[in-house]
Amino acid sequence: MSGFAWAFGRDLRLAWRHPGETLMVVAFFVLVASLFPLGVGAEPQTLRRIGSGVIWVCALLAAFLSLSSLFAADYADGSLEQMTLSPHPMVGWATGKIAAHWAATGLPLTILSPLLAMQYGLDAATLGTLAFGLALGTPLLSLLGAACSALTLGARGGGVLLALLALPLFVPVLIFGAGAADAQASGLSPSPHLSLLGAGLIVGAMGLPPAVCAALRIALD
């Protein structure tokens, strides 16, 4: 069994055994996205205007919520040492953990997003673009978040530090993701934004796991 499959399977099993975290992320997403129409008012024009941006910000914050525990639990109970000292290359299991994190948080958010976006009166094509953008963007959020989470591992006040590090890095993902849905809503082609998101995901998937490994090594030293 490769390191990737081992870590992916184990983390999904842990998420299944301990579903509180995934449920919290999903509940946060649903609640916050539902608060906006109540606060802003039910005027269809306004809601349609802000809809995709609001959904994206909510998804981004929900994905951020679960980041702090990505490596911290394994660090505290010694599993991270065991993984580092296993015969598998570090990049393999680190990527497996990131993939499992996405499957437990980013994927449910992506699936739920069209449902929530319906509150904002977005048309069918925009709903599709929004979900597709999230499908490309949330893995990138998990990758960026994992690098930040690994960097703040073991630091005191890690939670605040993590927010200061991760949220600015999430900005480009937000801009292109929300931009794609906005372009679709105003009758333009969303493909430039989506292409940039996809390119970002490819670059992130190639470049960020080694960075995560380097940060984990520093944390364990």
């Binding site: 069994m1 081992w6 184990r10 099993r13 842990l14 055994r17 301990h18 505290a76 109970d77 010694g78 599993s79 040492e81 065991q82 993984m83 580092t84 000292l85 296993s86 015969p87 598998h88 290359p89 364990l220 030293d221």
Partner: protein, 205 residues
């Protein structure tokens, strides 16, 4: 089976120097007890040898090659158990054991798992979530892992912590069997382990 050789290892934490010029050879079939007062760097020495902590100077050689070059080969032959046992609270004792072994590339049968958990006295609670286990019972999961893993070199940090007298003699039995098979072990401990003779590495405070 390969020999472990440590050449003039030195490590410091912040401004304080923990140890320097530590050299020893650990041939197959023998074990070395690392001793020294609290804070003398026993854990750091083990972490340096295992490759978790980067030493200030010196090299660790396994099978004639520095471990920094033959990393994968060394890691497949070496089993490290630190202070934190790496046990997940949400999983059962059996799942924890299976996961720990799968990580090192071993896939034991259910029968073998049950037998080894039984041999360390965890037969009745093998399907209980690990969060309900005591510290000593968690250690015993670690012992079941030692029994099933084929690693040639054990690096263990205070393996007797939280174990009762029965557990201690069980561990001595495991170590004896490991050494008889030509394995070797580097163990930081304050205790004597059974009646097994060991070379000693002493760290000054």
């Amino acid at each position: 089976m390969s020999a472990l050789e440590i050449r003039s290892l030195a490590c410091s934490r912040g401004d304080s120097r923990l140890f320097r010029d530590v050299s020893f050879t650990l041939p197959p079939g023998e074990w070395i007890a690392v001793r020294g007062p609290n804070g003398s760097g026993k854990t750091t020495l083990l972490r340096c040898v295992a490759g978790l902590t980067r030493p200030d100077a010196g090299i660790v050689i396994w099978g004639g090659k520095p471990t920094s070059e033959a990393g994968t080969q060394f890691r497949s032959a070496m089993l490290y158990a630190g202070h934190a046992p790496g046990i997940k609270d949400e999983l059962t004792a059996a799942e924890n054991l299976r996961n720990a072994l799968a990580l090192r590339g071993a896939a034991p049968s259910d029968e073998a798992l049950r037998e080894s958990l039984g041999s360390v006295g965890l037969a009745k609670i093998r399907n209980l979530a690990a969060r309900r286990l005591s510290a000593g019972q968690r250690r015993r999961i670690g012992m079941a892992r030692l029994a099933l893993d084929a690693a040639a070199l054990w690096i263990l940090d205070e393996p007797l912590t939280a174990l009762d007298a029965d557990g201690e003699s069980m561990f001595a039995g495991l170590l004896e069997r490991h050494l008889r098979r030509g394995g070797s072990a580097l163990i930081a401990t304050h205790h004597a382990i059974g009646s097994l003779q060991a070379k000693e590495v002493r760290l000054a405070s």
